[in-house]
């Protein structure tokens, strides 16, 4: 057994930071690697030393093995942690390290080879007695063959990149046309993302849940499982929310899945942290999907319910130590949930939003007032950049609570406290999911997002109780602002402005959804009693409100009827823009007379852009698929825009004729630039 002294982390972003934290706790030195784009990244700052490895694109830096090997030599590291993605599941990497006498903090190359290829891994799983999903195991030559195979298996089918992961290079096809299109798209994406364009096809299990087992092995033949994680909340196969344990599994199924996973791991002498992914159907039948021979993005939820530091266990087993616990020692305690906070705009069909983090203020980590734990894994900081070259993940916000309800509530309030500015992000969407009754019941499948938001996301639902509280707090904030304004120098002595205690609040979600209240603020300082009169037939309601808010603060922390109530604001004319639980409101606070006059104001209808094709994200036009004067059909592909390495096909929303095309392939477009106009 050789003690590791210096770990090079062959990765970037939050996972590099995550590994550095544990290494530091263990007294091990750390080396970061960075591309040009990451020169000022957090992982570089956190590590003891850092080595530059090339230009921004990953295929010229983070996944170029020679560059990493050079960095190892240069820094004198004696071990490497690969993180996830990049070189983490490339068996050549640990082989090369072995030649250099460097310890690889991950499984043995044989296990990686066996499991890394989805076709081989499936065969192995079958041999180990693990049930698998029907599919075509061979490689597929062309689109025609893909269609033929798809027909043999029966639609729907899933087309996947053999080397894929994380949703890239993955398509679902429900008919021949989609199979043909999906095959080509997957192949292209696979080639661009992994440098390996091999594709395979399998049966797409309907109503499936994605549940995976965390396993942990050592070099002495011991393998244990650390319970499951449910990752069913996915969008286009990209995980969004993960939790542990699963609200669906019973003890028997958990045990069966765990034991099969251990059997599979043992079959390949698995000796590190790994994850066995299953699809589970409504009758709790589970099918092996794949095994990820690395640390998983969502590993923190397992850590939170087991108390095990998976990175530490990986390091220990890499240096030859035996597992510190046996299966019977593994106890699942409480509930943990992870939200992946992405720089993706949910209101623009989740298109990536890159740029400067003008504001990045995550909620405080640690134990909150309700006894829940908040953990935030990130690789960014305020003033940093979400670059177009890498995954647009900003942070992984995890909460732990005694039970699922507590963990969900902790997510809601932590997300309300998460301040982000400068880029579009998916927090409103995450909030909507947490408030969705199907999610609250745990009644979810991997199709949850597609089922519940078939036309995209248009904002979370309004809760009238929340709306009233927001109105009350905004009235009080406005009152604070106006009192300050009246204290300006130069006022006529003895003729100061009189500020009334009654405010009228107009809370607007959209032109069609407007709430009106009258807020009567009683009391001078500290705890105020606000009598809220909802216009309409409801009786007035008294709220006890307290806030230490001062003008300029964007995070409002208030107490309403003795319960914490937080939201974010931005001052606008006549009031505030408010973000709470995924809903954006505009609150206008006026004295009653002004409110009366405000009702005379015309409603302005935003300009009609339905006859324009706007660029939904900053990106490069790859191709324009129509011509001026051409008649187009509903759903027809019009143009392809590439951003964040993803090709996005823009389709016609209705039947029309192309009037004018304003962009050409190769053009760099900003958000909302007009690509083409229709008649």
């Amino acid at each position: 057994m050789t003690k590791i002294k210096k770990i090079l982390i062959a990765n970037r972003g939050e996972i590099a930071c995550r590994v550095i934290k544990t290494a530091r706790n263990m007294g091990i030195e750390t080396v970061a690697v960075y591309s040009d784009a990451d020169k000022h990244a957090l992982h570089v700052e956190m590590a003891d030393e850092a080595v530059h490895i090339g230009p921004p694109p990953a295929n010229q830096s983070y996944i170029v093995m020679d560059k990493i090997l050079d960095a190892i030599k240069q820094s004198g590291a004696d071990a490497v942690h690969p993180g996830y993605g990049f070189l983490s599941e490339n068996p050549e990497f640990p082989k090369a390290l072995k030649k250099m006498g460097i310890t690889f903090i991950g499984p043995n190359p044989k296990a990686i080879t066996a499991m890394g290829d989805k076709i081989t891994s499936k065969k192995l799983a079958q041999e180990a007695g693990v049930s698998t999903v029907p599919g075509h195991m061979g490689l597929i030559e062309d689109a025609d063959e893909a269609v033929k195979i798809a027909n043999n298996i029966g639609y729907p089918v899933m087309i996947k990149a053999s080397a894929g992961g994380g949703g890239k290079g993955m398509r679902i096809a429900w008919n021949d046309e989609e199979a043909r299109e999906g095959f080509q798209a997957s192949k292209n994406e696979a080639a661009a993302s992994f440098g390996d364009d091999r594709i395979f096809i399998e049966k797409f299990v309907t109503q499936p849940r994605h549940i995976e087992i965390q396993v942990l092995g050592d070099k002495h033949g011991n393998v244990i499982y650390l319970g499951e994680r449910e990752c069913s909340i996915q969008r286009r196969n990209q995980k969004v929310i993960e939790e542990a344990p699963s609200p669906f599994l019973d003890e028997a199924t958990r045990k069966a899945m765990g034991e099969e996973s251990v059997a599979l791991a043992k079959a390949v002498d698995y000796d590190s942290a790994g994850t066995v992914e299953f699809i589970v159907d409504g009758d709790k039948n589970f099918y092996f999907l794949e095994m990820n021979t690395r640390l998983q993005v969502e590993h923190p939820v397992t850590e939170l319910i087991t108390g095990v530091d998976l990175v530490e266990e990986m390091i220990r087993s890499a240096q030859g130590e035996k597992l510190s616990m046996k299966q019977k020692d593994v106890q699942l305690n409480g509930w943990a949930i992870e939200s992946r906070i992405y720089a993706e705009d949910p209101f623009r069909n989740f298109l990536p939003s890159i740029g400067r983090l003008v504001k990045y203020r995550p909620p405080a980590e640690g134990v909150n007032r309700s006894g829940a734990i908040i953990r935030n894994d990130t690789g960014v900081y305020e003033g940093g950049e979400i670059s177009m070259y890498y995954d647009p993940m900003i942070a992984k916000l995890c909460t732990w609570g005694e039970d699922r309800g507590v963990a969900i509530n902790a997510q809601r309030s932590a997300l309300d406290n998460f301040e982000l500015e400068g880029i579009g992000h998916n927090i409103p969407f995450l909030q909507a999911v947490y408030d969705h009754d199907r999610f609250e019941r745990g009644d979810i499948t991997t199709a949850f997002i597609a089922d519940e938001y078939p036309d995209g996301f248009e904002g979370a639902d309004i809760n009238s109780g929340h709306a009233r509280k927001i109105a009350a707090v905004c009235a009080l904030m406005h009152d604070i602002k106006e009192h300050r304004a009246a204290e300006i120098s130069g006022a006529l002595p003895n003729h100061k402005r009189h500020i009334p205690d009654i405010w009228s609040v107009e809370l607007k979600v959209s032109n069609d959804e407007v709430y009106h209240y009258t807020a009567d603020i009683n009391g001078e300082e500290g705890l105020r009693t606000i009598i809220m009169d909802d216009e309409g037939d409801k009786a007035a309601l008294e709220l006890e409100v307290m806030t230490g808010w001062t003008p300029g603060q964007t995070l409002v922390r208030a107490s309403v009827d003795a319960a914490t109530f937080n939201f974010q604001v931005q001052p606008i004319s006549e009031g505030f823009k408010v973000w709470h639980r995924g809903v954006e409101y505009k609150a206008a606070i006026r004295n009653p007379r002004a409110a009366e006059l405000a009702r005379l104001m015309p409603v302005k209808i935003p300009p009609d852009t339905s006859n324009l094709l706007l660029c939904p994200m900053p990106g490069v036009i790859v191709s324009i698929m129509v011509e001026e004067g051409q008649e187009i059909m509903d759903g027809q592909a019009l143009a392809i825009v590439e951003a964040m390495k993803m090709e996005n096909t823009l389709r016609a929303e209705k039947k029309a004729v192309v009037k004018k095309i304003n962009a050409a392939p190769g053009d760099n477009l900003a958000v909302d630039e007009v690509i083409m106009e229709f008649e």
């Binding site: 504001k359 304004a485 300006i488 130069g490 006529l492 006549e574 006026r590 007379r593 104001m601």
Partner: protein, 510 residues
């Protein structure tokens, strides 16, 4: 006795009805409020005192002697905004379409003179069909009297115009002579000659909105300083602006309690300037991050976006900010940007508002369009305005300060009081490539040598230190401590007392 008192109330009630219920309804149907409703919103509730409520016109032609409305189409008086005095007038479109008569003009002139005498700002809410044609030249004389008052008051008290309906012909020139013009989108327009006349005279076909709507005047003509969605928003925002402004040119800037640390450090500013000198960044972020509470009141936000102008507060006191905007035209100065910033600088100097200048300017925008358009003279306006300004002047160079544009953007040589530079600053005659092409013309064919020369030039000149060695920069500061430094600098300069030699008036290159 009681009858007489009641009579006053009855007369007031009649006057308050303006042109009557039907016309008020029609005003509301257009999405516009009435003159008195507007004043209620503009001023602190209950603070408005109306003058000349019972004034009537004296015209007898065209049957006008039969038609009388007390007040004659304009509501005038005074009130307070957050307790500070201001004079106001609001034209009443429900009375003769707000048209200007001799007496209407006299009412405006009265409050103009009072405002000047009391040292209080005046705010005009314009909503008028134009001159009252029935009165002929008397109306024109009225307009001109108003203009003369505008001119005399200029630089003594702030004058603000809000266009809340039509403003055509002679009516446009009173607003044009004031410090700020704001418009209401979709319900206001301003032009000298309307679409109907245009059509007959020049065959041009254009709508009133295209010719003189808020969009035209905030983006193309720069006649207006800002536009708002409706009357409510416009008046709320005028109140907000008013709180930034001194009452007159002797008063000094207002002070307000502030909830922000004067020495707040913002680490994110250290990464504001991108590594690549050709990449833009948003200067508004810097403004928001150094201002009290992130509050920035932008003036002319939609015109000449390559330069930013507006008000912030530091330690509760108003500061005028001018900043190059690298996001637009790389922050180059052109004719429009010069005129916009020069006018803003002069406003601030008139009213003793200290100036903060944020510099990232690669130069003047080149081209025939600019030269033919007189960029020399327009650029000179900004130069002149800065050189003439005696208020406290603090400058921060964040990145480029090249060539003539360096000379313009409030350098030490134009009386800059405290001039800071970030370590990312590049103070030079021009960028490296251009300079090397001139300095080492003979090596131009040799790529290797040229690269060497460029590196050499960058090392020598593209830093703040050459300028700092000569004392042209007082101090090189860390971006993160900009707020702390700048607030402290303004605190230091609070008692600055400088005056230019007496002159009848200056001769700014118009």
């Amino acid at each position: 006795m009681q009858d007489i008192l009641d009579q006053l109330e009855a007369r007031r009630a009649e006057a308050r009805k303006g042109g009557g219920d039907k016309r008020i309804d029609s005003q509301h149907a257009k999405g516009k409020l009435t003159a008195r409703e507007r004043l209620e919103l503009l001023l602190d509730p209950g603070s408005f005192e109306e003058f000349d409520m019972f004034v009537k016109h004296r015209s007898t032609d065209f049957g006008m002697d039969e038609k009388h409305f007390p007040g004659d189409g304009v509501v005038t008086g005074w009130g307070t905004i957050n307790g500070r005095k201001t004079f106001v007038y609001a034209q009443d479109f429900t009375v003769f379409g707000g048209s200007l008569s001799e007496t209407h003009a006299q009412k405006i002139c009265k409050v103009q003179r009072m405002a000047l005498k009391q040292g209080a700002p005046i705010i005009g809410l314009n909503d008028s069909g134009g001159a009252r044609i029935q009165e002929g030249v008397a109306a024109l004389a009225g307009y001109t009297d108003v203009f003369q008052n505008n001119i005399i008051a200029s630089g003594v008290i702030p004058q603000i115009s809000v266009i809340m309906g039509p403003s055509a012909g002679g009516a446009v020139y009173s607003p044009a002579l004031t410090d700020f013009i704001f418009m209401v989108r979709d319900s206001s327009y301003m032009f000298l000659t309307g679409p109907d006349v245009l059509k007959t005279v020049t065959n041009e076909i254009v709508t009133a909105e295209e010719l003189g709507g808020a969009k035209t005047h905030t983006t193309k003509s720069s006649v207006a300083d800002g536009a708002f969605d409706n009357d409510m928003e416009a008046l709320a925002e005028i109140r907000r602006l008013f709180d930034f402004l001194p009452l007159n040119n002797r008063d000094g800037v207002p002070v307000r309690t502030f909830f922000d640390k004067h020495d707040r450090i913002d680490n994110s500013l250290d990464t504001l300037v991108p590594e690549n000198p050709n990449l833009p960044y948003d200067m508004k972020e810097l403004i928001a991050k150094i201002a009290d509470e992130g509050d920035f009141y932008e003036i002319q936000a939609d015109f000449a976006k390559n330069i930013l102008t507006g008000f912030i507060r530091m330690e509760g006191q108003t500061i005028g900010v001018v900043g190059n905007q690298p996001m637009v035209l790389a922050g180059c100065i052109d004719s429009d940007a010069s005129r916009k910033a020069a006018r803003f600088v002069r406003f601030c100097d008139c009213f003793n508002i200290p100036l903060l200048t944020l510099v990232d300017v690669p130069g003047f925008l080149p081209g025939t369009a600019q030269e033919f358009g007189g960029v020399i003279k327009h650029g000179a306006k900004l130069l002149y305005a800065y050189g003439e300004a005696t208020v406290p002047k603090v400058t921060v160079i964040t990145r480029k300060a090249y060539g003539g544009a360096y000379c313009v953007m409030s350098p030490k040589h134009l009386g800059g009081d405290i001039n800071y530079a970030w370590p990312t600053a590049q103070i030079a005659v021009m960028g490296a490539k251009g300079a090397v092409e001139i300095l080492h013309r003979k090596d131009l064919g040799d790529a290797e040598k040229t690269a060497e020369h460029i590196a050499d030039y960058e090392e020598k000149f593209l830093s703040p230190f050459r300028a700092a060695e000569r004392g042209y920069i007082d101090e090189v500061i860390q971006p993160r401590s900009t707020r702390k430094r700048v607030t402290r600098a303004f605190a230091l300069l609070k008692d600055k007392n400088l005056s230019n030699p007496w002159k009848k008036h200056s001769n700014l290159p118009l």
